[in-house]
Symmetry: C2
Subunit: 350 residues, 2 copies
Amino acid sequence: MKSTKQSAVTAQDVADLAGVSRAAVSRTFTKNGSVSTETREKVEKAAAQLGYQINFLAQGLNRKRSMLIGVVVARLSDPFRSQLLEGLLNEIQARGYQALVTEVGNAEELEATIRRFTQFRVSGVIVTSGQPPIDLIKECIHFNIPVVGINRYAAIPNVDFVCSDNVTGAQLAAQQLIKSGCKSIGWLNYQYSTWGGITRGEAFSQVLQATEPWCYQQLVTICAQEDGYEGGRKAAHEMHKNGLKVDGIYCANALLACGFLDGMREHGMDAPNDFHIIGFDDTPQTAQYSYRLSTIRQDVIETAKRALWCLESRAQDASLLQRLEVVPVSLVLRNTSPESSYSVTQLKDK
Amino acid sequence: MKSTKQSAVTAQDVADLAGVSRAAVSRTFTKNGSVSTETREKVEKAAAQLGYQINFLAQGLNRKRSMLIGVVVARLSDPFRSQLLEGLLNEIQARGYQALVTEVGNAEELEATIRRFTQFRVSGVIVTSGQPPIDLIKECIHFNIPVVGINRYAAIPNVDFVCSDNVTGAQLAAQQLIKSGCKSIGWLNYQYSTWGGITRGEAFSQVLQATEPWCYQQLVTICAQEDGYEGGRKAAHEMHKNGLKVDGIYCANALLACGFLDGMREHGMDAPNDFHIIGFDDTPQTAQYSYRLSTIRQDVIETAKRALWCLESRAQDASLLQRLEVVPVSLVLRNTSPESSYSVTQLKDK
DNA sequence: TTGAAAGCGATACCAA
DNA sequence: TTGGTATCGCTTTCAA
C-alpha cells in the first residue's frame, strides 16, 4: 500500500491516481464540497489505496484555523482538576478536535501560553486556571478565536464562562446541615482561594443569612493557610488548638474537606458523630470507605459539553453577547452528613 | 502597536518595516541563522513594534515538523496517571514544545490518535497507555517521528521505553516485609493488569524465590476482578470470605492498595497491627492520614526527563538501537509497614 | 461539477 | 551576510 516516495502522500498523488484534479480531492474531504458521486468514489478509492491523510498543518495554514483547541490547566494533582480535564478531552475529541494542553503556574506563563495557542491558530481556548488577561483576550478576538473560562468569571465582553451552580450548592449544603440539627456552622476555605471557592463561601453565607439568621450570626469562617489536603488538616489542628467548636462544616473543595476530616480524627473527633461535614467536587476519593464524604457534586461532563458549545457557537458568530452558563449541581449524601432523619443531636445524645 | 491590517502580522510586514528581506526576518528567528548584528537589531525592533509572532502552522508545514509532541493518556482519574501527565507537560513545555494530549480507551482509538498525531507532523509521540500497534509505529518511522513508551515494553526496533525499576521495587518491598517478620506474604494485582503491574508481580515472585524460598512457596497471589480502588476493596472482602490470611501484602499500584486496606478495615482488620501492606506509586493520597501507606515511589520527573531525552536524541539519529531506560525507585516507609524495628510479630504479641 | 491558478506564511537553497 | 525564489500541501475563488 505504501508508495515508494520518501515523503508523505499528498492530495496531488491521490488526484493523479484517480485521474482528477487536486481540487476535486480537496472537495471530497470537505464538508460542503460539491463533487459528483462518481468523482468522489474515484477519489476515495485512490485515497484508500495510497493511505492518504490530510496534512493538518497545510490545511490550517490555508484556513487560518487549525483543528486544535487550547486548554489551560493547573495543579493536576487535585483529582477534581484531572477529572475536569478528562471530561474536556473526551468532549474535544468527540467533536473532532485535538487538545493542546498547557499547565500554567502564574499569570506570565498564562500569557505566553495563550500566545502560543494563537500561533497555532487554535479554534478555541479553554481556561480552567488563572484569570485570562484582558490583553490576551484582545489578541484572541483579533484572531477571531473564542475563549471560554471554567469555574471562574470576569466581565469581559465576548468571553463566555461556564460555572457550577454555587448558589444551589450552598443552599443544598445549608439545608442539609440545618436539617441535621447543626447549630454552630463553619465554612472552610483556603485564604487565597480561587473564584469558585470564594463564590461558594459568599453564597453559603447569604443563604444562611436569608434562611437561618441565627446560624448566620454564629457562622465561623475558617481560613486555611495552605491549599489542598494539608491545608484542611492543619486548619483542623488550628481550630482544635484554639478551642473553637463547630458541629457542621461546609468546605470549598474536596481536598480541604478530606484534610479537615483527617485533622479532626487526629484529635479523636470524627464525622458524623462529633460533627457533620460537607465537601465540594465529589472526587472519587470522597466516595472511598475511609472518607465517605457528603459532597456537592459538580457535573464535569455537562461542564465540558457547555464549554465546547460556547466555543462553537461563538466561532460562528463572534459578536454574541457574553454568556454565563450555570451547570446544575447535586448533593451526594454519604456518611459524614447522612440522611436527615439521622441528626447530629440524636447522635450526641446516644 | 497593532497594525491596521485585518489579519495577523507576517514576516513580510516585519521585513518591510525593517527595510530588509523576508529571508532575513526568518533567519533572525532561527537558531543557526547567519545574520549581522545590525540586521538582527533592525528586525527585532520592527518585530516588537508590530507584535510579530511566527505562524507555527506555516513553519511546521515547511519544516515538515511542528513543535508539537503527542501524548497518549488513559484513565486520568488514577492519581498516578495525572501526576505522570503533569510531569510530562512540564518537561515538554520546558523544552519549548507544546503537548497534544489524547485520551484513549481502546486499541482502535490509539490507532486513530497516532494517525492524527502524524497529520500534525508532531516531533515525537509519548505513549503512556496501550501498546503502540506495530503498523502505526511503522507509519511514525516513515515520517521519521520518534516514539517512546512509558511503563510498558515491547521489542519494537526504533521505539524506546522508559520504565520504573520494578525489580528493585520488588526487592525493597520483599526485604521490608521479611524484615518486619511477615510469614505469609501476598501479592495483589488486577486480573487484566498493565505491563507494569505484571512485571512488578513477576519480579516480586522471583525475588522471593531467590532470597526466601520458604516464603515464595507460600506466596498468595490475589487477583482482583476489578481495577482501581474498588478492585482492591472487593479483593479484600473476597479474601476474608474465603478465610484466607496474609500478614504482608505487596500491591501493583496505589489505588489497589488503598482499596485493599479499606476492605480489610471493613472487616475490622487494619495495618500495621493485623498485617503489613506496601503499595506502588506513592500518589499524594497514600500519604494522607487515613492511609499513611508505605509505598514504592516512582520518580515521575525523572521519567518525563528521560522520555524527552529519548525523543530528542532519536530525532537526531533515527537509526539508534532501541533503548530501555530504567528509572530508580525508592521505598517510602509509612504507617502500614513501618520501620523494621517495629515488626509485625511484636505487634501481634502485644 | 470541474480544473487552473492564486494564495496561506515561513524556510532554505542559491547566487551575488 | 544578504535577497530572490521555489517549495511545503492544501483551500478556494474563478471560469469554463
